[in-house]
Amino acid sequence: MTVATKPLVETARRPLGGGRRFSLNWLGAVPFLAYVGIFLLLPTAIVVGGAFVGPDGLTLSNLAAMNKPYIIGAFVNAVVLSAASAVIGAILGAALAYAVVTGNPKGVLRRLVVSACGVLAQFGGVTLAFAFIATIGLAGFITVWLQQHGINIYANSLWLYQLNGLVLVYTYFQIPLMVLVFLPALDGIRPQWREATESLGGATWHYWRYVAGPLLAPAFFGGMLLLFANAFSAYATAAALINQGSIIASLLIANTLTSEVGLHQPGLASALALVMVVIVAIVMVLYTVLQQRTARWLR
C-alpha cells in the first residue's frame, strides 16, 4: 500500500517536473540491484575494509607488505599465466569457432561442438586437475606408458606442476569458453558483406582487413579480456595441481587464510584480494577504451 501511494504524492508535489510522470519502472531493477549489492558490492566492501585492519586495529601495514618480493612474484605469475592462457585460448577458440560457423548452421558438427564447449568451459577445478594428474601426471598412465617405451616427458623439468603446466591446463577451459562467447559475433557476419567486397574488387585480405576484422575485433578482444579475468580468478585447479610456494595470487590468499604455522593474516589476504580487484578494474577500463575505439566501425 505504501509503495503504491508514495508515487502519487510525489507527482502531486512536483507537477512541473519537466512533464515527467513518476515511473515505477525502477522497481523491476530491485532484484538485480539487491543481487549485485549482496553478492558483489558487499563482499568488495568487506575486502576493502579488511585490507586496512591488522591484529591491533587499523593499519596500513597490509598494503605496505605488497612490495615484498614473494608477493610481487605471485602477482606477476598470475598476470603472466592469465595473459598467456587468454591469448592462446582466444586465438585457438576463435579459429575453432570460425571453423564451426563456416559449416552447416544446423549441422550435427556445430551442435556437437557447442554442447561440448558448454560442458568443457565449466570443466575447471579439481576434476580438471585430476584428469591431468591421472593421464600425464608423474604417475599418470600416459606418462608411465611412455616411460616404458623410453620416453620421459619430465626428463628436463616437472613442467606440469609449474606455471607452464598451469597454462596448458587453463587453456583446456579457456578455448571452449572463447568458442561460446565468440560464436554469436561470427554469426552476425553476413555472407552478403563478403560478396559486396568481392563485387567492389576486394580480395580475401581486403575483406578481413577492412570489413570482418574491424567488426570482429571488439568481440575478439572482449572475449580475450573475459578469459583473462576467468584465469586470473581461478583457484581450485591450481590448488589441486600445485601445493608448493603459492606461486599465483589466488593461492597466496588461500595460504594466508589457512596457515597453521603462524602465517595466518586475514588482513594481508584482504589486501591481496584488493590488489586483484584493482588489476581486474584496470583491465576493464582498458576494455572500455578499446571498445570505444573499435565501436566507431559499427556506427
Partner: protein, 368 residues
Amino acid sequence: MSLGLGVRRLSILAGALVLLTACGQTTSSTTSAANAKSAADVGGMDALVTAAKKEGKLNVIALPPDWANYGAIISGFTAKYGIPIDSANPNGSSQDEVNAVQQLAGTTRAPDVLDIGMAVALANTNLFAPYKVTTWNDILDSQKEPTGLWFQDYGGYMSIGYDSSKVPAVTSLDDLLGSGFHGRVALNGDPTKANAALNGVMMTSIAQGGSPDDISKGVDFFHQLKLKGNFVPVQATTATVKNGTTPVVFDWDYLSAAHGADVPTWKVFVPNNAILGGYYAQAVNKQAPHPAAARLWMEYLYSDEGQNLWLKGLARPVRMAAMQKSGKVDSAAAAKLPPVNGTPVFLSADQATKAKDYLASHWAQAIG
C-alpha cells in the same frame, strides 16, 4: 468422575514435579560441565559419562581417519559410550579448526574439541576452556599449559619415508640429490602453511649444519632439490604414496610408517644427526556445544585405552613414559615404532616464529 479427575490431576502434578526435578538436574550438571576444570567438578567420571550421554553428540574437526589411528579412536569412543561423533573437514589444518570455532560460535555445529599444532595452540588460548584430565600428572610440565588450556597429546620425529622398490635406499639427506630421485621427493604440505612440512624443512636444515634457530640451510637444500628436478610440488597423501606420485616423503614418522599398510616396501628413515620431535596438543572449545562430551572425549584420549590407540597408529602418546613404568603400555605396538638413536630436539615458540618468517619470504623463491 470427580475422583477420577482428581487422580488425573494429581498424576499430572506428580509428572510435572518429576519433570521439574529432571530439568533442574540437567541444567545444573551441564552448566557445571561447561565450567568444569576436571571430572571431579562434575561429580566424578560416572556423572560426566551421564551428562555426556544426555548431550548425545560430539563434534570433532580435522581428524583424518588415517592420521594417528583417529579412525579407530572415533569408533572406539562411540562404541564405549554410545555417543555418535560428527567428524567435520577431516583434512583441514589447525588454522581451519580455529576458524571453525570462531565462525560457528554459538551454533550446535561448532567443534567441541581441537587437535592442533603448537603454533596455533599458543596463539589462540583465549578460545579454550581449562580442563585437567584425570591422568594430568602423567603429562610432563613442559608439555602442558599449567591451567589446562592446552596439553600435548601425541608426537613423533621428523623422518624421510621412501618406497624402496622405486628409489635407492636413503642413508643420508645428500642421497636425495642423486639422479635416482628425479621427480620423487615431496613434503607433506607447503611449509608456510603446514606444520609437518615446516618441520621437514627444519629437520633438513639441522642435518645440513643449520640449527633450530636457522632454517635457511633447509631452504637451500630444497632449492638444490628443485634445481636437480628431484622436488615434486605435490602434497604427499596416502593416495599419492600409493599411486607412486610421491615415493619419497618428509613427514612425521608415525604418519609415514602408516604408509607401510598400503606399500609393503615403504621404509622410514630418521637421520641420527637431526632428530626433530614435534607434538600436537588437545584443547576444549570454551563455547563447546557439547561441553560434557568434549571433556569425556579428553578423558578417553588420555586413558590407557586412548593412549594405546594412538600408539597403535605409531604416534608416541604423551603418557607413554608413565605407562611404560606402570606396565599398561601396549608393548607389541611400541615395538613397531621406527627406531630412533640420539637426542631429540624440540622447537621453541621463538624458533618456530623465526622459521616461519624466513619461510614466508624465501620459500616461494627457492622452489618456484
